[in-house]
């Protein structure tokens, strides 16, 4: 039997001590163990080797030209014409003018100060469900979690759900140039397995969560925002639907309208 350096259950504690995460009592207990454990001694040596490899020069500083482009971009984004496209929420109106007027530093300082007394985003009645859905969206973006069935074809994605879920989710190909379908997967929300369809908008991903609605009736779209993600929820054809993405609210509304109108 080979003894891998993982073979002692205490190696993560050794690492925690190495990273300064243990208090004195824990560290003392660990020291007693480590004195007689060759595996933990080897782990310590590996930790030190790894830290010697990662020199501070490996930290990437933002290049000056990239920084300048960012500041220019922010100034442009803060100028009134951009905002005119979309009626700003009341709280946004309050800090937008200083951005244009006093430059970015002042704006950031103002924004930081404002957080203390800015009203929270308007409450959404299904707050808990909104949390769950946005969490599911974020989870889906982890490596390897996005699609179980990567396919741009609704006739592949739809049958894939057969036998995996107790309802047939409506899978639609939208106008491919705007919101191409890229796959689907099983997910969990609202206390049940749900279908998640993945669409793309430019470089962004949109998750559409679908499950059978409790009760009948259509419901027109309602929009909300959570942790910086936009969502739209509605009911259609006996299904509850939630679209979540980091695309702009207006684009997510377009997606919703495309989807609702699509046969």
């Amino acid at each position: 039997m080979t003894r891998s350096p993982d073979a002692c259950e205490k190696v993560l504690l050794v690492q925690a001590e190495f990273d300064g995460e243990l208090d004195a009592a824990e560290a003392a207990r660990l020291a007693t163990h480590r004195a007689g454990c060759p595996i933990c001694a080897a782990a310590t040596a590996d930790l030190e080797r790894s830290r010697n490899l990662i020199r501070p020069e490996l930290r990437n500083r933002m290049p000056a030209d990239a920084r300048a482009r960012l500041l220019a971009h922010l100034r442009q984004a803060a100028s009134p014409p951009t905002h005119a496209l979309q009626p700003p929420a009341p709280w946004r109106r309050r800090w937008a003018p200083p951005v244009a007027g006093f430059g970015l530093g002042a704006a950031c300082a103002a924004a930081l100060l404002l957080t203390i007394w800015l009203p929270q985003a308007p409450g959404f009645k299904d707050q808990r469900l909104a949390d769950q859905i946005v969490d599911a969206h974020i989870r889906s973006l982890q490596p390897g979690h996005l699609e179980d069935v990567p396919s741009t074809d609704q006739h592949t994605v739809k049958p894939w759900f057969d036998g995996r879920i107790d309802f047939a989710p409506p899978v639609k190909n939208l106008a491919a140039d705007r919101f191409p379908l890229i796959g689907g997967r099983l997910d969990y929300a609202s206390g049940r397995p749900v279908a998640a369809l993945v669409y793309q908008r430019d470089k962004h991903l949109i998750n559409l969560f679908v499950w059978p609605a409790a009760g009948n009736g259509e419901q027109s779209p309602e929009t909300g925002q959570e942790h910086g993600y936009n969502f739209v929820r509605w009911r259609q054809g006996g299904m509850a639907l939630w679209a979540v993405s980091d695309v702009e609210a207006s684009q997510l509304r377009e997606f919703t309208e495309d989807w609702r109108r699509s046969p």
């Binding site: 993560l12 990662i54 971009h73 942790h227």
Partner: protein, 162 residues
Amino acid sequence: MLPHLDAAYNLARWLMRDPAAAEDVVQEAVLRALTYFSSYTGLNARAWLLQIVRNTAYGSTRLDRGVRLVPLDDAEEQNDLPPAAGDDPEAALLRASGEREVRALIASLPVELREPLVLRELEELSYKEIADITRIPIGTVMSRLWRARRLLVRAAAARDVA
């Protein structure tokens, strides 16, 4: 937020492994941070911005979610890295090539291991902060960090990187 731009860029650069993609991610993350200030969650400002950078990077289709080995460059490109002033040129060259190789080794780690390693070693964040930023349980942060370090040390030993 501006004091944390280097941290934001560093994370984006290591996640995306491409300067242009990193710049786009930072740009978008900062805009989102300013727009969504009302959802500020009580993390410290740097952790909060890093969380948004991370979410933006993961939301980008340009993030490589698979594992791929980045080939180590041959000696020909070593001249890109100017030696530090007042250094023995030979020693500087050696160090620069070591740095280049370590960079490639870290870049070749799967993104879910690379991320906690960069946050811990280059941003010097605590396990708790890393867990908050990545929304991953602390236990998982610890085991990923350990796997990342072991892989790095093994790969370096195999390649004889100083």
